[in-house]
């Protein structure tokens, strides 16, 4: 089957924080011994909720756009790669600019490193390590048809709004089918005496 049909889907609601993805990421041949994936407790004091973040592989990668050394390249099939070693000047621009917080600076090697969707595997038709081992299906690698058949309650989205910037990504995020993507505007959330409009953002109360 042509590999282009396989896509990467993230469903944070399924994540159990087990770190299989982190442990398996460090087994990837392109960056052995180092995990590129991020797995964070959202707030362990309140919840066991965790969120895994792989590189979203943006159509117009901000990391590459802000790179003064033109070190970050995208493959023809849309995978944004770790910085090219001879070019990377370890300036940290990409680390600061990525809206998803993905790139990591390897200070020892003076090199930005990031998830390359297990290019050594995916380029030859194998699933990435993290999505292979994930016990909960929070990370999934498969076809659009498969994910739609297996997850009727949710749908994939790949457009994200950061301020004025709209970002389209190769990787999809699964969201509840009933929810529409919303962009919150500070004005719409403020109390307005004239209209009686009163919206509270859902914040922890402690």
């Amino acid at each position: 089957m042509p590999e282009a049909q396989y896509e990467f889907f993230i469903d944070p609601s399924r994540c159990i924080g087990c770190q299989s993805c982190v442990q398996a990421c460090s087994e990837c041949d392109t960056h052995k011994g180092q995990a590129m994936i991020h797995l964070e407790f959202v707030n362990r004091h309140y919840s066991t909720q965790t969120a895994p973040v792989v590189c979203m592989h943006c159509d117009s990668p901000t990391c590459a756009e802000v790179c003064p050394a033109d070190a970050i390249k995208k493959t023809p099939d849309g995978v944004v790669q770790t910085a090219r070693k001879p070019r990377c000047i370890a300036c940290n621009n990409c680390v600061l600019a990525c809206p998803f917080g993905v790139p990591k600076m390897n200070s020892g090697a003076e090199l930005m490193m990031k998830c390359d969707m297990c290019y050594d595997r995916t380029s030859i038709g194998k699933a990435p390590m993290c999505a292979s081992v994930c016990p909960s299906g929070a990370l999934y690698y498969g076809t659009r048809e498969q994910i739609e058949a297996q997850r009727p309650r949710s749908m994939p989205i790949n457009q994200f709004q950061f301020g004025q910037q709209t970002i389209s990504t190769k990787v999809h995020m699964m969201v509840p089918r009933t929810a529409q993507p919303e962009h919150i505007d500070v004005l719409s959330a403020m109390h307005d005496h004239t209209s009686g409009h009163d919206i509270f953002l859902m914040m922890h109360d402690e």
Binding site: C18, Q19, Q23, E27, T48
Partner: protein, 748 residues
């Protein structure tokens, strides 16, 4: 023996636990393995399929095994990093003899000399005090072949009644209740029956951390519309997104099940046809739960009445359902009663023995299922036969070619073996795949009893915490150094394949046992040339028993990706789903689907009793224990694997912020927990995901970090499982860091 040969710190310095991280060929990119070996993980009861990458007789990594049906390539972090247990700096490469003059308390000795010494001591103790003065502790992480051999070794070679195993700490409450209710102890279904069910009920099972791949079945079911009910004192990761979470007070599960059945009866959410035709005893149970009103249930369980009503309605009105539980309801002095309560909900609903309707305990150890079937339990013979039953004894005596009158009668459970050391009845002990000093409750007592033995020998691949007390340590094998079968949580018999040879003078465990038998001059019955030969005898021994393996072969396992027992003949495909209508079994002989002469399942009255040690003014809180995802059992393996220790380094005390505020405890503070057995000082983890009247501590660590020094040795009167899941405790803020904090690495 008296005490450790050297101080604990000196022994740790030599024998670890030290950490292994990937290096050399394990870290280099692009290393082509010599071969990929399809086998299974060495850790939990799910037994995920995995392919080990082997290079130069070393496991250097893994590749997912996508085609194995249970896990389809999925693994938890333990499975991912399990390869680091091989070629480990702490690996025992020779036999060891206790020697206080040596820096680590042991000196290497030749393998043959060690075997002679062990056989000599067994012979001496048995000649001096009788056969029953020597005991055996075995384990449920061994292959089924080894567990079969251990039972045979005890009964035929040593002729001692005293053998038991660490499954005693695992799921024996479920096993006993299953036998009382169904006449058979096995998960009733493959997990596939979860996928299209209306309701999944999970009681006392931290699925995401202890059976991680089962999560994918639960999530897939949820995606198909199933409602998930989770009962637990903590909001575990599986509880976080369930449809209904019931925060039960530890030790009150039977009260909840009785309360749910009460509501099912009140609303007539019952399958009368099934109850009438396929069960007995419903009336007595119905009468017993008449008093368990929602109000009373709420008072006892500490769960809001609304939640109890909602759970009863969802469970009661479902068309299909899957009931599952684990140690959370089983580790109690009334663990059997708790499980009987869960089974009553299944039987009253009639939802068992058909597609999408299921029931199972989630077994914890690698061979938790197979390890409890073929004779290493104190009262059991192969094929789930009964050591006290004259017919069963004769059947096995014939297979073993031994006089039946020489076969010992049933012995005692694993904890009672230590009490028999105290009374002087047991003078010598051999342990394999069991680290009682960390895993048994009230473990300072266990240490003292190990020291009281005249002779103790331990077989292991690392010097585990109990083996530090040994006179002779024999270097055993890692899972990847041997082959054999195990039976995973669903009842699927699978094949462990050998990937590498044992290093140094280490030997496969079955060879060590046979070498001891030979050195004793009792080699008859212990001349197998490999696991396959043991399995062939096991097949014959199990034939006609409840756990009938006679139709299973290594080839059939490979061809079918596992075979579900019972499998009574060569042309039988195995039995993924038990209790199907019109199914045949050797007890009912066609009278019905359950394993009783009338073919009917049994309802059992399960009265509520509080925990053995309830809270009081002196010890006002409840202590409960369990696992974390990156460690396994007593940590002998996982506390030596660097990335798993990095993930969760040291035990912490989980407590609710309300309790923390009352005791002036902040996140990260040193706090001391005290019970009537002992005390422990660990750092606090303040989280809103636990009941404020309960604290939780994981049990994988040894010495000053071992919570089992505090747990209670009270046991269920039927299953003899210890009450790990609740005892009374008090908590105080510590004035300073414990001494170990500056002396030990996190894993030590």
């Amino acid at each position: 023996m008296a005490q450790l040969p050297r101080s604990e710190l000196e022994m740790i310095a030599v024998f670890g636990p030290h950490l292994a991280h990937a290096q050399g060929q394990r870290l280099e990119a692009g290393v082509e393995p010599d071969r990929l070996v399809k086998t299974h993980c060495c850790f939990c009861g799910q037994q995920c399929g995995i392919q080990l990458k082997v290079k130069d007789n070393t496991v250097i990594g893994f590749e997912p095994w996508y085609d194995f049906p249970f896990n389809q390539g999925m693994l938890c972090p333990k499975g991912v990093k399990r390869y680091l247990q091989g070629a480990h700096p702490d690996r025992l490469l020779t036999a060891l003899e206790r020697d206080p003059a040596s820096s680590g308390g042991f000196r290497p000795i030749g393998y043959d000399a060690a075997i002679q010494r062990v056989a000599g001591e067994i012979g001496r103790i048995q000649a001096q005090y009788g056969n029953s003065a020597f005991g055996i502790l075995s384990g449920a992480s061994l292959t089924t072949e080894k567990t079969y051999l251990m039972g045979k070794f005890a009964r035929m070679c040593l002729k001692t009644p005293y053998i038991d195993y660490n499954g005693r700490l695992c799921m024996v409450s479920a096993g006993a209740a299953n036998k009382k209710s169904f006449g058979i102890d096995r998960a009733a279904n493959a997990w596939d029956d979860m996928l299209h069910t209306d309701v999944i009920w999970i009681s006392g099972a931290n699925v995401a951390e202890c059976a991680p791949i089962t999560t994918s079945y639960v999530w897939r079911a949820r995606e198909n519309g199933a409602k998930i009910i989770v009962v637990d004192p903590r909001i575990t990761p599986i509880a976080r997104t369930c449809d209904l979470y019931l925060p039960i007070k530890p030790g009150r599960d039977i009260a909840l099940f009785n309360g749910i059945l009460h509501l099912m009866i009140k609303h007539d959410w019952l399958d009368h046809e099934f109850i009438n035709n396929h069960t007995v005893g419903f009336e007595a149970v119905a009468e017993h739960v008449a008093d368990w009103t929602p109000k009373r249930t709420a008072e006892v369980t500490g769960i809001a009445e609304k939640g109890i009503q909602q759970a009863a309605e969802w469970w009661g009105t479902a068309k299909t359902s899957f009931m599952t539980h684990a140690r959370g309801i089983e580790h109690h002095t009334h663990g059997v009663q708790n499980v009987l309560g869960a089974i009553s909900l299944v039987l009253a609903s009639g939802r068992i023995g058909r597609p999408n309707c299921g029931y199972a305990t989630i077994t914890g150890q690698a061979n938790g299922q197979g390890g409890r079937e073929h004779g290493q339990k104190c009262d059991q013979l192969p094929g789930w036969r009964d050591l006290a039953n004259p017919e069963h004894r004769q059947h096995i005596a014939n297979i073993w070619d031994m006089p039946v009158e020489e076969m010992p009668q049933p012995g005692v459970d694993a904890y009672e073996i230590f009490r028999k050391i105290e009374t002087g009845e047991i003078k010598g002990l051999l342990s394999l795949c069991f680290n009682p000093k960390v895993s048994l409750p009230d473990s300072d007592y266990v240490s003292a009893m190990l020291d009281k033995l005249e002779f103790y020998t331990s077989i292991d691949f690392f010097l585990n915490d109990s083996a530090r007390h040994a006179d002779i340590v024999l270097p055993g094998s890692l899972q990847e150094e041997d082959e054999g079968t195990v039976t995973q949580a669903e009842g699927r018999v699978i094949k462990i394949n050998q990937a590498i040879e044992c290093p140094g003078e280490a030997r496969q465990d079955w060879r060590i046992i046979q070498d001891i038998a030979q050195a004793l001059g009792r080699s008859k019955g212990f001349t197998f040339d490999g696991p396959r030969a043991i399995f062939e005898e096991l097949r014959r021994a199990s034939k006609g028993g409840v756990a009938d393996y006679s139709g299973i072969s290594y080839e059939k396992i490979e061809a079918q990706n596992g075979v579900f027992w019972p499998c009574p003949s060569d042309d039988h495909p195995g039995t993924p789903r038990l209790f199907e209508p019109n199914s045949w079994n050797p007890v009912a002989k066609g009278a019905g689907p359950f394993y009783f002469p009338d073919g009917k399942a049994r309802f059992n009255v399960a009265p509520y009793t509080p925990p053995a040690e309830d809270v009081d003014a002196e010890y006002p809180l409840m202590l409960t224990t369990g696992r974390v995802i990156s460690h396994f059992l007593s940590g002998t393996q996982t506390r030596r694997i660097g990335p798993l220790v990095d993930q969760y380094a040291e035990p912490r005390i989980e407590l609710h912020p309300q309790l923390a505020m009352r005791l002036n405890i902040q996140e990260g503070d040193w706090v001391t927990a005290q019970t009537r057995r002992g005390e422990i000082t660990l750092r606090a983890q303040v989280v809103r995901t636990i009941r404020p009247d309960t604290i939780f501590v994981p049990y994988h660590w040894a010495g000053q970090k071992s919570i089992n020094r505090l747990t209670i040795a009270a046991q269920d009167p039927i299953s003899k499982i210890p009450e790990y899941k609740v005892c009374a405790v008090r908590l105080i803020k510590a004035s300073q860091a414990p001494a170990y904090a500056s002396q030990l690495e996190p894993q030590q």
